[in-house]
């Protein structure tokens, strides 16, 4: 069971609230990259990309490490789990309600049909 402390969720959702940062995370799925490689698809300065990376690193969504002459950036997918669990709780919320909706609507429909055939 992953500990989903509110502070972790705060920083994860904040990090995910930006489209560029989400795109960077997706680019890092399955492969490590240098900062230059990460910046390449975006029309922004290395400094701007570094700021985004800092937010992602603060949220523990990525980690940077030195390999020889390179500094590589790697995804830390486990950090996303608390956010997914939070979403799952909302999913349960809606599932219960949509079941109730179905029961309500189908009952009303049956009653209506019953009246018609009387």
């Amino acid at each position: 069971m992953v500990e989903s402390s509110p502070a972790v969720l705060d920083s994860v959702f904040h990090a995910l609230s930006d489209a560029t940062r989400r795109a960077i995370l997706r680019d890092l799925t399955g492969e490590e990259k240098t900062v230059g490689e990460i910046a390449q698809p975006y029309h922004m300065s290395l400094a701007a990309v570094s700021k985004h990376l800092q937010v992602l690193e603060d949220a523990a969504l990525i980690q940077r490490e030195r390999k020889g002459n390179y500094r590589l950036v790697r995804l830390r997918p486990d950090t996303l789990r608390p956010a997914q669990e939070w979403l799952a709780s909302y999913e349960r919320f809606w599932k219960v309600r949509l079941d109730a909706l179905r029961n309500y609507v189908e009952q009303a429909e049956t009653q209506e049909k019953g009246k018609e055939t009387e």
């Binding site: 502070a7 705060d10 995910l16 489209a19 809606w94 219960v96 109730a100 909706l101 309500y104």
Partner: protein, 156 residues
Amino acid sequence: METLEMERTQTEIADSPKLSITQFIRAPRARVYDAWTRPEALQTWFCDGGNICAAAELDVREGGAFTFLIQIASGAKRTVTIRGVYRTVVPNALLQFSWQGCTPDETSLVTVSLKDVAGGTELTLTHEQFATEASRDGHNKGWTAIVANLDKFLSN
């Protein structure tokens, strides 16, 4: 450049935290739509487990607001208010509304779409664009209260 940025934002909204649920209902679309848009109907199904929908006010038109007041039955008696604004209203087909949940500074987007399928209606509900005023402003707070409140709300 600006156009590029906009396009990227629009297509990638789908990648933000999001949940999607599909439900089959053995009734025509109009009846399902009625259950979402008529206050007395909504109050009947939206509250479960002994909770009471104290009130539901629905101004179903684009730009119109809605409010649900839910009294949590067990434990300390509390009222949870959910409010939002209808963004898209297509009768018997589509409802899209903003959702301000357990704390006022949380905003997200709910889309309910209805489709004819053999024997009834297929309802798809999507809940996405979770963000807090705090996270939009770049402050690291806001979710604490939301998570705590949602937990209470759901466990009641």
